[in-house]
């Protein structure tokens, strides 16, 4: 049986790992390569590196950081942020990343998903969706540009469209829950997970081990991602995994 994955996310800005509270108020939480090695030792199933400022400033993600991680560790990882073309994807994947994550660029030009999927296979293409609940619409809407720009797409529709174009995985962040540590957005997560045929990573809101359990059981997520609670050692990957095992979740 496939195991549920625990994924520490390393939001990277200028080569350093940072994590914002609802995308604002950044704090420095360390060096990406050192943190990657630390999480590998702790039993992280995968890592995600997101260059959070890339969409805004047009900065490319650090190929050198990707290379150093791939050279020193036997752990799968995804890189996102500022990936706008097939050439960008090639650079990152050839530097040793296993998957690339597309966000704003895919919303602006959905064919990018198809191009990447056709060239590298669907399993390399993750589509990251930042979603926030809209009272008027009664559903979650997609935001781009690091959460600054609202689109007219609903999260569920966009996830389905992305998969039909060739996305192999959805990285779903609830902007309402992000940084609040009150748990993942279970309604959003299960709505998307049940709508698509590919794995869904729940993101935003992890505060304790119980929240991961809920994300898998109620949220129907295949993987769950967190940053600050791991980076600031409020809990650890090891602790979360042993808790999940004790609750009967299939964990590596």
């Amino acid at each position: 049986m496939i195991t549920k994955r625990i994924i520490p996310c390393l939001d990277v800005k200028e080569g350093r790992v940072v994590k914002g509270i609802q995308f604002l108020g950044l704090r420095d939480a360390g060096d990406p390569v050192e943190l990657a090695a630390f999480y590998d030792r702790e039993g992280a199933d995968e890592l995600v590196f997101l260059d959070i400022s890339a969409s805004h400033e047009g900065r490319k993600t650090m190929v050198e950081v990707v290379k150093s991680v791939a050279a020193s560790l036997a752990i799968p990882f995804t890189v996102g942020g500022g990936i706008n073309s097939l050439e960008d994807m090639k650079r990152i994947l050839r530097a040793g990343a296993d998957k690339v994550s597309l966000n704003t660029a895919a919303v602006l030009r959905p064919e990018l998903i198809a191009e990447g999927s056709r060239f590298f296979g669907a399993q390399c293409i993750v589509v990251a969706i930042d979603a926030r609940y809209d009272e008027e619409q009664g559903t979650w809407m997609v935001y781009t540009h690091g959460g600054r720009k609202r689109t007219d797409k609903t999260a569920v529709d966009w996830a389905m469209e992305a998969v039909s174009l060739g996305a192999g995985e959805i990285l779903l962040t609830s902007m309402d829950s992000d940084g609040e540590k009150n748990g993942f957005n279970l309604e959003l997560t299960s709505a998307v997970s049940e709508a698509v045929s590919v794995p869904v990573i729940a993101s935003g809101g992890a505060g304790n081990a119980e929240h991961f359990y809920e994300a898998f059981e109620e949220g129907k997520a295949d993987a769950a991602l967190a940053a600050s609670i791991f980076h600031y050692k409020e809990t650890s990957v090891t602790e979360v995994k042993s808790f999940l095992k004790s609750r009967g979740v299939n964990i590596r």
Partner: protein, 210 residues
């Protein structure tokens, strides 16, 4: 010396660094003459089967790999590289493979025999269940390795050394004599993956027939 085949499809960097960490000598090449000198060959690969075969044909590596296989020297395909060892694949239209192993590559149906649906790609850590013994698995316990694929091999059980349960028993380590394949990424599978690659190095060094 281990030769890693460079045909423009894949994560050569991670694979080569894994051999470097294990202290094994290797080189990366797309030249059949140079690769012919290797004591063992790694055929990596990420991407689509059809594109991969087109690249191998263009670089005149298809015939080379068939000849290399006959020489009896060890050949290990990883992920897409493993799939290429089989007879054909239905990814983006039926495409002929290298036919070094019996069987074909098919997409996961997404529904198991009881009608329960599951996610495709098969992505993440899954446990190896051992079947036919192989020196590749020697000294390694049945453990978790990292998979990421939408297509899998349908092949006779006698070439399956290890499988993983995902909808059905998915071939994970396959071999017949000197032709070997791993569907998962050993270079991304932590200590277990490194131990599997170490065993391949040992096989290459001792020319043990599998």
């Amino acid at each position: 010396m281990i030769g890693i085949v460079d045909y423009g499809m894949g994560n050569l960097f991670s694979v080569s660094k894994a051999f470097e960490r294990l202290g094994a000598e290797y080189f990366i090449s797309s030249d059949p003459k140079r690769l012919g000198e290797a004591a063992g060959i790694i055929l990596p690969g990420v991407g689509a089967f059809k594109d991969a075969m087109a690249q191998l044909n263009e670089l005149e590596l298809t015939d080379f790999l068939s000849a290399y296989a006959v020489s009896g020297k060890p050949l290990l395909g990883i992920c897409l590289g493993m799939q290429l060892l089989f007879e054909d694949s239905e990814e983006f239209g039926l495409t002929e493979g290298l036919s070094l192993l019996p069987g074909c590559i098919r997409r996961f149906p997404g529904t198991d025999s009881e009608g329960v649906s599951y996610k495709v790609p098969h992505m993440g850590w899954n446990k190896l269940n051992y079947n036919v013994p192989s020196p590749l698995l020697e000294g390694i316990e049945e453990s978790y390795v990292y998979f990421v694929h939408s297509f899998y091999a349908k092949t006779p059980v006698e070439v399956v050394n290890a499988s993983a349960s995902y909808g059905e028993e998915v071939p994970a380590v396959v071999s017949r004599n000197n032709i070997m394949g791993m569907q998962f990424h050993p270079e991304k599978s932590g200590e277990t993956g490194m131990a599997l690659l170490q065993n391949f190095i040992k096989i290459t060094e001792s020319r043990v027939s599998v």
